[in-house]
Symmetry: C2
Subunit: 289 residues, 2 copies
């Protein structure tokens, strides 16, 4: 019988769960919880979900914020806006079934690789443009994790004069420019209005000022992608996340290919859907390539 | 009997040759030629070297400027200051023995990995700081080449306002800041003197102005390394090339580790010597890991 995973996606604000099969299909209702503030409450939500469904599945697959180790059983370090003790979570102890853990951006990149936009492309880089920027790197049909599992952090510099503080504590990372938060800051800088929101920009994108702001933001994304393409010589860069709908993919692909010194590559929009983190974690946990 | 390679290093200005054994030792005199201007003259030099030595070795190993394909038998594209027809070279036809070709920076990174500074470190990134910047990436004990072989080009952006033209035709790449040429341009910008040379800077490095220039140049190298460490989570970054002697490795390692979001890594000076390109190509051609 085909195997199934109980997938649990853990973000700073919400936790989702669903049962996913080997085809990467969600075969249950998706359940949603608000992420509690404390470690013990988060653990209680995990236990509640797992106790409810573990007998129906072969494996538990977490897609989580934070860098995940190469043993796929724990969090390596700080994870932003979730309880600060979260990295101490002993995932294995949560279920009698096998528990598999992967970073959410890595899991989403794997979903795109197996069933989505980068299918049949051995080398792909996924950029999730949301409030921040997530990164997932697939090389030679394998998820690339680096020596300890923390690889794929899109914190490379866009300038070197300490202009914008990044969420990581350093300055001027790609994330601080290419994210939704980055768009707001670009908008503030160009408009001089500290109250301007990303919504103001995207809702009025035909107005000259907003157009100028979006073009600057998109150009920063382009510059980042050029660097990644020169480093990796990938088949494609996949763009996902809520902010990806505001970029002109065809323009980016055309312009990037003019600038690179490596070989031509594609830029594509993610197609595995909103739950690609859960799907990718499930596929990884089930060993589906 | 232990196998040997005839290694040939091809640069824009010089061609070197030597016989290298499986330990990565050079066991002959190193011969040096000036790189001729035309394709046919370059080919004639290759033939002269190969005819002289091919009977003494098991394989011919080229370490060359230019990106080399994943079949290790040809050049992918443009290679800067060598005859423009050079990418059309049919390396295989040059000898009755097996001919193996690899990019010089990749080959040098492999030499460091097998016998040099990144020995026993599965994940390393080598930056060769010379007139330009070469890059070689070792991931999971394998040379990383990307989908077509062109990976490892250190042309990611240091700023996004088209400030400095890069040799690649684009603007503001790491190479345009971290190289010797980059140091000259940083010196010009800070001193306002267009005649200033890299020699002026390094020969007078205790003078306040020169110190300031070197610090800015070194800081740009630092910023680039931080980005690479966040992307790759490597064991180490190896610095090689003539300009590497002007950076403070311990300072870079300390500062970079403060800024990264991935896990601690080393920054080390290359130790495989001036002929690491030949040695690495020979080791790759001989299958030595």
């Amino acid at each position: 019988m085909a195997k199934k995973a109980l997938a649990i996606d853990v973000g700073g604000t919400k936790i989702y769960s669903a049962i996913v099969n080997e085809k990467g299909e969600i075969i249950s209702e998706v359940e949603k919880y608000l992420t509690p503030k404390t470690f013990n409450e988060i653990k209680a939500v995990f236990k509640e979900i797992i106790e409810k469904y573990e007998d129906l599945v072969d494996v538990i697959a977490f897609s989580t914020c934070g860098a995940v180790n190469n043993q796929n059983n724990g969090i390596l370090g700080s994870t932003g806006n979730i309880a600060k003790e979260y990295p101490a979570m002993d995932f294995k102890s949560l279920s009698k079934k096998t528990v598999f853990v992967e970073n959410d951006a890595n899991a989403a990149a794997w979903a795109e690789h197996v069933i989505g936009a980068s299918k049949e492309m051995p080398y792909s880089i996924m950029l999730t443009l949301g409030t921040g920027v997530g990164g997932g790197i697939i090389l030679d049909n394998k998820l690339y994790k680096g020596k300890n599992g923390a690889a794929g952090e899109m914190h490379f510099k866009m300038r070197t004069d300490k202009h914008r503080k990044c969420t990581c504590g350093s300055y001027d990372c790609f994330e601080a420019y290419a994210s939704g938060t980055g768009l707001k800051r670009t908008a503030e800088e160009i408009s001089g209005d500290s109250e301007i929101t990303t919504y103001d920009v995207v809702a009025n994108k035909d107005r000259p000022l907003m157009k100028k702001i979006l073009e600057k933001w998109q150009n920063d994304i382009l510059e980042g992608i050029i660097g990644l393409a020169n480093i990796f010589d990938p088949d494609c860069v996949v763009l996902s996340g809520s902010m990806a709908e505001f970029v002109d993919i065809d323009y980016l692909e055309k312009e990037a290919n003019k600038e690179i010194v490596t070989t031509p590559f594609r830029i594509v929009k993610a197609s595995a859907g909103n739950y690609s983190g859960m799907i990718g974690a499930a596929l990884l946990a089930l060993g589906v390539k």
